[in-house]
């Protein structure tokens, strides 16, 4: 079993005329790589009618519905996160309830509000009620504000994780930009934070350092946008890990933190 815990799909209201081809490309490449499950979200309209990292409730509602359609169309391969914007608290909670009833398996938070802001607490409490992990977009060591997002780094996400010790947090894409060494220090002693290995970065030494920092029991293989770099990291993990530890990173840890039966 090979679970990509950080995947994305597209839909017809994102302004991407090639959205069906992009969705199909992910599924086809995933089959070549041996991916058995894509756990995915759609961030609103991907900037078409509201900003990618500040999606409007209308765009999120549509995107989550499209995510559920994809899950229904590919029941063996696709699982959905409920993407929410915590600035719109009532809508976020309603989307999580709806998503849970319709078979979605986690919560996706992008960069609409700093991770340690109290507005995220009700979202995390809802995740705890349903046994959902929370996948949180992270900028590895945010030294300043970045345009187009209210990014958070590992220190800020770990503050949130300490307030919600029964929730598993997936710290997104340590290969996705920024200084992952800072993230490894931040997350080392926060056991309910797991690191996803996705992102376009395939820095030499990153996998070894992540293993030293948190061990194979808190790493999750993933791709995010670039499947080819995920594939490279999968091969490198095969070189670095024995079969038992490799199985943890590629599926065992995901099966532990997502709701029971999510990958049956």
């Amino acid at each position: 079993m090979l679970i990509d815990v950080h995947a994305h799909f597209d839909h017809d209201r994102t302004g991407h005329a090639d959205w069906p081809a992009r969705n199909q490309a992910r599924l086809v490449a995933g089959r070549k790589m041996g991916v058995t499950h894509h756990v995915a979200s759609i961030l609103g309209s991907w900037g078409h009618t509201s900003p990618t990292y500040f999606p409007s409730p209308t765009d999120l509602g549509y995107a989550n519905a499209k995510m559920r359609e994809l899950q229904a169309a590919h029941p063996a391969e696709v699982r959905g996160y409920v993407a929410v914007n915590p600035n719109h608290a009532a809508h976020a909670l309603a989307e999580i309830e709806l998503g849970q009833r319709r078979g979605m398996i986690g919560v996706k938070l992008a960069a609409s509000r700093r991770a340690d802001d109290p507005l995220l607490d009700p979202v995390c409490e809802a995740a705890a009620r349903h046994g959902f992990p929370v996948l949180h977009h992270v900028w590895q060591h945010r030294r300043r504000e970045w345009p187009s997002q209210e990014a958070s780094d590992g220190v800020e996400l770990c503050r949130l994780a300490r307030r919600h010790p029964t929730v598993s947090f997936i710290l997104a894409h340590i290969g996705g930009g920024g200084d992952w060494l800072h993230t490894l220090r931040a997350a080392r002693q926060v056991p309910n934070v797991l690191l996803d290995l996705s992102g376009s970065g395939t820095d030499g030494g990153m996998l070894e350092a992540a293993l030293r920092a948190v061990g194979p029991g808190r790493l999750l293989w993933a791709c995010d946008v670039t499947l080819c770099t995920g594939y490279a990291k999968l091969r490198a993990l095969g070189r670095l890990l024995g079969p038992d530890d490799l199985a943890l990173v590629t599926s065992g840890n995901a099966r532990r933190i997502f709701p029971a039966g999510a990958f049956a």
């Binding site: 992009r22 930009g177 970065g201 395939t202 030499g204 350092a209 594939y231 490198a236 070189r239």
Partner: protein
Amino acid sequence: MIDVNVFLGAYPWRRIPGTSPEAVLRAMDAVGVATAWVTHLPSLYWKDPAEGNPWLYEVASREPRFRPVPVVHPGLPHWEDDLQEAAERHAVAVRADPGPLALAPTGVDMLRLLGAAAEVGLPVQAAVRLEDGRGRHPLDVAPELAPWVVRAWIRSHPRLRLVITHAERSFIEEVHWGSTPDEAARIWWDISWVWGPPEEHLALLLATMGPARFLLGSGQPLRLAETPGARLDLLDLAPDARAAITHDNARRLDPHAPEPR
């Protein structure tokens, strides 16, 4: 396979495992790379990069799977001697990365080196970047290579050949389609920074530019040795196109390459 983008030696900005020649050879074996074009990485940051070249030549003389790409700094006195030595020692290329060497990218020194390398028949290699700009050390502020620089370089001498590594799709397209066919035919690009599905940047570039312009390159050990092979394996490439990228194009650039294993 021939990996045209490999480094030996320590990196100044963070710990990198596997930088020794022996470790790089093991990594090459793990991914099926027979030959690597190698640069002494510290040389890119030393005040006199040529101080690293004797070690590089010595390593390459002991291990024929390494083809040396020495650094030549055209701002230093008698740099022409370093270029001449590279030619005499059958280096596969020389490199002068304006960012880390703090050279004006289209200044007199750089253009002199490009012209001289063209005259002795050595390709010039340069990296757009070595790391993602978002993750660099706060003191690592060397500017990245820009597409206009590469366009200026290739126009500077009619026989100059360039090998540009770590370039993304938009960079490659800006240079390729902003050059005459003759100019574009003298530039080769490695695939270390060109994304596969679902963006399909590599598939698009191969469809629009053809496989003759591309080389397999990883940037290892700063980047995973597995990356370019994984990228190619996600494409449905014809065998001759794959062979062009993995070794045929590189062999044509290297008349002194060892025989394939």
